[in-house]
Symmetry: C2
Subunit: 240 residues, 2 copies
């Protein structure tokens, strides 16, 4: 009972601060005023959109900022970031072409949005977005579907974070990149992004990947180019 007693006296539960909180805000993004036709979004909304360009590592929005815009990804990869007070980070979602950000928010963004690669977004004023949705049934349906898929993805990730081992998490993660039978993966995000998405550390991510490599379940050209050589083994691990 000695350790518990000690913890009791110090009121326990402390946690060390991580050293590096590196994400910086970069100079303002370029915006082209040209109206770009977006495949997959209904007519009226196209008029409202503004094309925005962001560079690698640039912050599009911080968590806590007033949620004035809805974004749609045209190209590139971004991360939706949440932070705890002491800097621990979680990435709820990686966004790629076709994904929306900011639809489901309240007054403020509840997570930040950061560019992982150079990327192009469409930006819609949020208030006009809402009213347009109600007048345009087709667009409304589409957005509703988007939210539903996001919810499903989040709930899927909950199971992963709540109950899967490190190896299972990485197997699931890697497999999510080769839906279409292509076994060649190009990961746009770095190890720390993967770790913060899967609730692990970069060291654990690295170790598990190394183990996969040793098993010859995957092969790697470099850290971001992975070829899945035994999808059946990974699928057995992913277990869902």
């Amino acid at each position: 009972m000695a350790t518990a007693q000690a913890a009791l006296q110090t009121e326990g539960f402390q946690r060390a601060l991580p050293a590096n909180l590196t994400t910086r805000r970069y100079p303002a993004a370029r915006s082209t005023d040209a109206v770009v036709a977006l495949p997959g979004i209904a007519g009226p909304l196209q008029q409202l959109g503004q094309t925005m360009h962001y560079m690698r590592s640039e912050v599009v929005e911080d968590a806590g900022d007033p949620a004035d815009y809805v974004y749609k990804v045209v190209s590139g990869t971004l991360r939706a970031v949440r932070l705890l007070a002491d800097g621990r980070r979680h990435i709820a979602k990686f966004l790629t072409a076709g994904d929306y950000f900011g639809i489901a928010e309240g007054d403020d963004y509840t997570s930040g949005l950061e560019a992982i690669t150079d990327c192009t977004l469409m930006r819609y004023p949020r208030n006009k977005f809402q009213t347009t949705l109600e007048s345009d049934a087709a667009a409304g349906r589409q957005l509703f579907g988007q939210i539903c898929r996001q919810l499903e993805a989040s709930n899927h990730l909950l199971l992963l974070l709540g109950r899967k081992t490190a190896a299972e998490r990485l197997a699931s993660f890697l497999l999510s990149f080769c839906q279409h039978g292509n076994s060649e993966i190009c990961l746009p995000m770095c190890r720390s992004d993967i770790a913060d998405h899967l609730g692990l550390t970069i060291e654990t991510v690295s170790r598990v990947i190394t183990k996969f490599k040793q098993q010859r379940w995957i092969s790697m050209q470099d850290a971001s180019h992975i070829r899945i050589t035994a999808p059946d083994k990974l699928e057995a691990l992913a277990a869902n």
Copy 2:
């Protein structure tokens, strides 16, 4: 390197099967045909609803069942359950009065729905539900808001599961029950439900609660009746 080597040879990554998969399907729920006016849902939808009663531990829907109905909780508490192939379980959400289930699903339910307490639900045929939504803007807005709040809750839980310690998870969990300044909590769910929601084991849940009790941050009449005596300490732990 001995252990890693051994793991490599056996292809590693195994995991023991949990012994008890106890949830059973009970006899069919009673349904009263009377149409009940639901506070908070718009007119036309009320006509479609059917009131359903379920008893404690009864299964409303299993994951994988065709998603034919949308449910709205009138009273009682339920759990939304996901399982891995080997029986590991996660509870994405506890549902209470006013919560919906089945809106965001595809063809099949992606999680099961089980009554924790005796409860009353409104059941709507899903196809009619959809069409009614499109014709009734107010109802559509309301449902859209529901989904958005669900998504926000899921993303909030992602951060908890991905990055919080056991003590922090339980602090967050307990605080989520006393939003309105009342420090008396009555937990309708058992320890294993809490554990499966927070990604912990029942033993860890029990130990952390004991520790909170020893710190005099909470006091307990019995296992399900908790009084929060030091909300500031718990809030500091919850850290968000």
